[in-house]
Amino acid sequence: MTSRSSLPAADNSPVFTPPSGLLYRAADRLYRRPNLLLALLLLPPLLWFGSVYIASLLALLWQGLYTFDDFTMLVNHTLTLENYARLFDPANFDIILRTLLMALAVSAFSAILAFPVAYYMARYASGRIKAFFYLAVMLPMWTSYIVKAYAWTLLLAQEGVSQWFVHLLGLTPLLDALLALPGVGGNTLSTSSLGRFLVFTYIWLPFMILPIQASLERLPPSLLQASSDLGATPFKTFRHVILPLSVPGIAAGSIFTFSLTLGDYIVPQLVGPPGLFLGSMVYVQQGSIGNMPMAAAFTLVPIVLIAIYLSIVKRMGAFDAL
C-alpha cells in the first residue's frame, strides 16, 4: 500500500479529474500517511476500552484491597491484604475447589460428547449435510443462555420430561443408584450435582464442537493415506494420527467450557445442591452482603485459574486452533 507514492500520481490523468472536496483531500492524505490513519482508526476503540473496561477492571482489583467493616457494614479505604488472604479460609477454599472440579469435569465430558460430532462433520459429512450440521451446532450455541437454562429446569423437574423418559426406558433403578452416590447425587436430578453437571455440559457443548471440527478439518488427507499405506489399521490411524492431531482443537474448546463454567452463577442458582459456586459467591458478597472488597477479591480467583489454564493449554497448541 505504501508503494503508491512512488507511482505517478493518478490526479494528473487527463481522462479523470477527481472532485477536490475536503472529504476527498482528507481521504487521500490519510492514504499517504498510514501511521496517522492507524492512529485515527485505533483512537476510538482504545479510548472506549481504556476508559470503560481496563480502568474498571484495575479499579476492581484495587477494591479488593479495601477494608470492609463487619459491624458498620461499610467499606473504608484502609488498604489490607486480608481479603485476598481470606480466599484460603477452608469455607472459601471449598467453594473454589467445588467450582474448579465442576469446570474440569464439564470440559472433559464435553470433549467426549463433542468429538464424534466434530469428527463426523469433518470427515464424512459434505455439502448439505455439513451445512446442516454446522447450523445445527451454531444455533443452539447462540440461543439465549437463560432460555436454555430454563429449558433444563423444565426437563429436570419432578414429573418432568427426563423422569418420563427414564421411566419409559425402565432406567429408574439406574437413576436412583446414580443419585445415591455421595458428592454426585441428591434427592432429585434438579437438586443434584449430576443435574447441574448435565446443564453445564449442555450449554457449553457447542463451544467444544466447533474448534475440534476446525482442527480436524485442517488435517491433511495425505497423512491418513500415508498411515494406512504403512500398514496401520483404521483404529491405529485414529489412535496414533487423528487423535493426537486433534488435541489443539480439544484444548481450544476446553478454554471456553472451562472459563464459562468457572464464572457462571445462574445455573448453580437454578439447578443443583445449595453449596455456593465462585460466581454465586461474588454475587452474594456484592449483592446481599454489600461487601464489595471481598467480592472483588473473589474475582481474582477465576482470573488466576484461567491464566494458569491458558498457560497449560497453550503448550498443547490451543492458541493455534482458536
Partner: protein, 269 residues
C-alpha cells in the same frame, strides 16, 4: 480431511445423537409454549393452545421488557459496529508495537467470565456516581460486542486482497472513492453479519446485565425473575420461545450473509 468412505453406524449414531441432545431442550421449550396446563411441567402435555400468546402480548411488563431489550441491543450494536470496524481496519494488515495487547484487550470482555466484567463496570459506575440504567447497560453490552464485529470484519479484510485497492487507485480513484466503491461494498456483508451476531448476543445477555441494569428489566432479567415465581409459568414459556427465536433469526441471517467464505459468521461466540 474429508473421506469418501462411509462412517460406521456407531459414529453416525453418536454424531446425530449429539445433535438431538443439543436440540431436545429447545424443542421442549417450543412445545411447552403451547401447553394448556397452567402450572405443571407434566410430560407429555395434556393439550395445545395459542391462548398464552395473546395473554403474553397483553401484558404491559412483557411488552416493556421487549421494547427495552430491542433498544439496548440496537444501541449496543451500533456502537460495536463502529468500534469493531475501526479496530479491524487498523489491525488487519500492519503489525505494530502493542498489537497483541490490543487483540487481547478486545477479547478480554468475553474471555473473562461475565461476572468479572459486570462487577468491574458496576463498581466503576458507583465510583463515578452514575445511576445504573439504560445507558450503563448499553455501555456494558457494547464493550463485549465489539470483538464479535471485529472478528467478522477482520476476517473479511484479510480476504480482500490489497491489489484490489491498488488497482482502484491506479485506475484513478482517490482514497475516498476507493473506500466508498471498493472497500465498503466488500466489507458490507461482514459488518452486517457481525452486527446481527452482536445484536443476538446483546439481546440475551444476562450476567453482565444483572450488574449494570439497576431497576431496568430487559427481557433476560425479566425471564430470570420469572423463574423464581411459579404462578406465571405459561407466560414465561411463551416469552422464552420468543427470546429464543429473536436470537436465532439474526444468527441464521448472519450465517447466510457469510456462507461460502472461509470464516462463517457465528462459528465463535
Amino acid at each position: 480431511m474429508h473421506s469418501d468412505q462411509h462412517a460406521s453406524v456407531w459414529l453416525k449414531c453418536a454424531a446425530w445423537g449429539g445433535l438431538v441432545f443439543l436440540h431436545f431442550p429447545i424443542v421442549i421449550i417450543a412445545m411447552y409454549a403451547f401447553n394448556t396446563e397452567e402450572s405443571a411441567f407434566s410430560f407429555p402435555p395434556k393439550g395445545f393452545t395459542l391462548h398464552w400468546f395473546s395473554v403474553a402480548f397483553g401484558r404491559a411488563d412483557v411488552l416493556e421488557s421487549i421494547g427495552l431489550s430491542l433498544k439496548i441491543a440496537s444501541l449496543a450494536t451500533a456502537i460495536a459496529m463502529v468500534l469493531g470496524t475501526l479496530a479491524a481496519a487498523a489491525m488487519y494488515r500492519r503489525s505494530f508495537f502493542g498489537k497483541d495487547s490490543i487483540t487481547l484487550m478486545l477479547i478480554l470482555p468475553i474471555a473473562l467470565p461475565g461476572i468479572i466484567t459486570g462487577l468491574a463496570l458496576l463498581q466503576a459506575f458507583q465510583a463515578m456516581d452514575i445511576q445504573p440504567g439504560i445507558l450503563t447497560i448499553v455501555v456494558g453490552h457494547a464493550t463485549f460486542c465489539v470483538v464479535i464485529v471485529y472478528n467478522n470484519v477482520v476476517a473479511r479484510f484479510r480476504r480482500t486482497s490489497g491489489s484490489l485497492i491498488e488497482a482502484s487507485m491506479d485506475l484513478g480513484a482517490d482514497g475516498w472513492q476507493t473506500f466508498r466503491y471498493i472497500l465498503l461494498p466488500n466489507l458490507g456483508t461482514a459488518m452486517l453479519a457481525g452486527g446481527m451476531l452482536a445484536f443476538a448476543l446483546s439481546f440475551d445477555e444476562l450476567i453482565v446485565t444483572t450488574f449494570t441494569a439497576g431497576h431496568e428489566k430487559p427481557l433476560p432479567i425479566w425471564l430470570l425473575n420469572q423463574l423464581t415465581r411459579p404462578r406465571d409459568v405459561p407466560v414465561t414459556n411463551v416469552v422464552a420461545l420468543m427470546v429464543m427465536l429473536a436470537t436465532m433469526v439474526p444468527v441464521f441471517l448472519a450465517y447466510l450473509l457469510t456462507k461460502g467464505g472461509d470464516d462463517v459468521a457465528g462459528s465463535g461466540k
